[in-house]
Symmetry: C2
Subunit: 115 residues, 2 copies
């Protein structure tokens, strides 16, 4: 890997951390952390997601009961304005990362499309 691309990656990371979206996520994480109800709701949501992802990764069956429980926990989390703000801020950052991927993959695809 050419050394100078690291400079560009680090510059991008620095700008990424100074975006409005990143600031919003930081504030939202702080607001959730400061609220014991929101904090507990989010932990339930995250723990259940991790459990189900692990089951799926191990090829284990996910029961209908677990699916319903996951949906209910997700709905309860998203009904909390502090958690919702956090998830929305995270989505904003995901959109930036997706854009970076699109921009980098495009010239590679163009080479293959020339074939």
């Amino acid at each position: 890997m050419a050394v100078n691309i690291y400079d560009d990656i680090n510059k991008l990371e620095s700008t990424f951390r100074s975006t409005e979206e990143f600031g919003k996520l930081k504030q939202a994480v702080e607001a959730v952390t400061a609220d014991s109800d929101s904090s507990q709701l989010f932990k339930n949501f995250r723990d259940l997601q991790i459990t189900l992802q692990q089951k799926q990764a191990q090829g284990e069956e996910i029961t209908e009961e677990e699916m319903v429980s996951a949906q209910e926990t997700a709905q309860a989390a998203q009904a909390d304005p502090k958690i919702l703000a956090m998830l929305e801020a995270e989505m904003g950052l995901s959109q930036i990362i997706d854009e970076v991927n699109r921009v980098l993959i495009k010239p590679v695809q163009s080479l293959y499309e020339s074939m």
Copy 2:
């Protein structure tokens, strides 16, 4: 999205296109394109991959015959030095893109780990 992050993304894309890895892929694509045997082998490989991916996306069963055929086509493609060079160059570029993703996801993960 803060406007100035586009400058960083575009700068990164420009450096990405000037990496040794991108130059290697460009040359490899040209070498494959210029060789009708390599070109045909690669097209067989790519067409079969796309067909199987579409089947999978539509939830259709992939037969053992198709799996064996896919493996044989992949092996034949990779046994061609020109195609192998192209796939290796592409892997080098994927590693750069993976690194960019890791660098950007890290500060987001750090925020969540603080919870």
